[in-house]
Symmetry: C2
Subunit: 111 residues, 2 copies
DNA sequence: GCAAGTACGCACTAAATAGTGCGTACTTAC
DNA sequence: GTAAGTACGCACTATTTAGTGCGTACTTGC
């Protein structure tokens, strides 16, 4: 959001990812389409305001899709778009690297 | 830096990447080892203070190596560590995704 | 001897981002 | 009828992060 022009592709990708909870949101949505409340439970620690905010930004960037059903207790479902899926795939290796780092940190702590 | 405990690997990775200029720094160091001044020129827009800061954090996270030579006009060289190299590789797909996004954005602008 | 380059540090300010607390209109469960 | 859940919005504050401006100790080039 708004850091254009980008110096390189990484720059453009990080811009979309940027936000304290966005990768967690994307990760959660990879497994299943979710309602707002579910998402809040899947991303421990977010406040409702910030979750809404980040979802709006991800929506504007074409990463998530928002489907609103006009029923009496409101119902909204969030899911990844095609672009979002691709992003998730591109994040795979990064996640694997992070896992190795986590393991290394734990070893260092206990060792 | 400091957001532990992590929910998943992605979380742990993003923590290291997080900072307005870090991916650009890592990207610059991928091509060559650099002196402080070179890095400043390669990362257009950073101030010296912030560049120093982010380099220190990347160093603490084991991503970059700092080699200081004790000569009269000071000389310091920064390079990626093995971990840093791996991170860079893991960032490859993300960069590719971002490039596609950049292209799409340009098309939309001109189209 | 004066400016510029070397690689920063420090005190302070500005900007960006996230969090708090409360309100909505309605429904189901107890 | 009271609490809890649905999916937010709004005004405000706090926290985090980045930027500004200046100083250092020394050397080379003009």
């Amino acid at each position: 959001m708004g850091r254009q022009p980008y110096v390189c592709g990484l720059d453009a990708a990080v811009d979309v990812i940027d936000g304290k909870w966005k990768v967690l949101i994307i990760w959660a949505l990879n497994h299943q389409r979710c309602r707002f409340g579910e998402l809040r439970r899947l991303v421990p620690g977010v406040t409702e305001k910030v979750l809404t905010q980040q979802l709006r930004e991800l929506e504007a960037d074409g990463i998530v899709h928002r489907e609103s059903y006009d029923v009496k207790p409101p119902k909204v479902e969030y899911s990844l778009t095609g672009l979002g899926d691709e992003l998730n795939t591109a994040l795979g290796p990064l996640g694997a690297w992070g896992k190795r780092r986590m393991a290394a940190l734990e070893d260092a702590e206990q060792g």
